[in-house]
């Protein structure tokens, strides 16, 4: 099953996928697109990815988490395409018999996603420009430049 989707993520479906009578703690992490008023405003992010590798990498991350927390059940969905401000780009649900394992497993997955998932963001600014986001530095303008400020 693919972990990638081009439509809004259903948190209810994700929670249902990991729930069960023997799991008493469920931790849900949502990563959402945030505005950046200081940078002129962000209207959304266009996500693109190396789909086949991203899916395979998520399989590997979930398998690793499953080994570390064998009584847990974890599901993840990552959006591709345009995600508007305040919408979730990623959702992770981790359920375990007790809350500590649920929190730890959920944290493990999002940290691994940040380090390993071949997905990229093009930030769409309110002024019509677009910028590739480099988490390690300032993004570079790749879209139409901003018009000069009014005199």
């Amino acid at each position: 099953m693919t972990h990638l989707t081009r439509v809004p993520i259903s948190i209810d479906d994700l929670i249902r996928a990991v729930g069960g009578p023997e799991r008493g703690g469920t931790c849900v992490f949502l990563g959402t697109v945030r505005d950046a008023p200081a940078d002129g405003g962000v209207t959304g992010i266009e996500y693109s990815g190396y789909d086949t590798m991203a899916d395979a990498e998520l399989d590997r991350i979930l398998a690793e988490a499953g080994k570390r927390w064998p009584e847990s059940r974890i599901a993840v969905r990552h959006r591709l395409g345009l995600v508007e401000t305040e919408e979730a780009s990623i959702a992770i649900a981790a359920a375990a018999p007790h809350r500590t394992d649920a929190f730890d497993a959920c944290r493990y997955v999002i940290e691994a996603v940040k380090q390993r998932l071949p997905i990229w963001k093009k930030e769409l600014r309110a002024d019509g420009s677009a910028l590739w986001v480099d988490p390690h530095g300032r993004p570079a303008v790749v879209g139409p430049p901003s018009p000069p400020p009014p005199v």
Binding site: S48, G49, Y50, M53, I90, R116, I119, W120, W132
Partner: protein, 82 residues
């Protein structure tokens, strides 16, 4: 000669001017040799970092990883998932 398929994504695809290309190499060869050949074939890729992130057949690898005939090598911009 062996043929390796090379894929580019996001900002690297814009620099390369394409999303995929093929390079021919004599074996043994490594990902570093693939990057070197790509820079010769596609001038736009000379703006890539000297040591880009790379994957072979859907797995992250280092630049000294070996490549074989028919492999898919991907050059990955800084990852931004999540």
């Amino acid at each position: 000669m062996s043929t390796v398929r090379v894929r580019f994504f996001a900002s690297y695809a814009e620099l390369a001017g394409c999303e995929t290309t093929a390079v021919e190499l004599s074996l043994p060869a490594t990902v570093r040799d693939v990057v070197r050949r790509v820079r010769e074939q596609l001038p736009g890729t000379r703006a890539l970092p000297e040591r880009p992130l790379a994957a072979v057949n859907l797995r992250h690898v280092k630049l000294d990883a070996p490549v074989g005939d028919g492999d898919e090598v991907a050059l990955l911009p800084p990852l931004a998932g999540g």
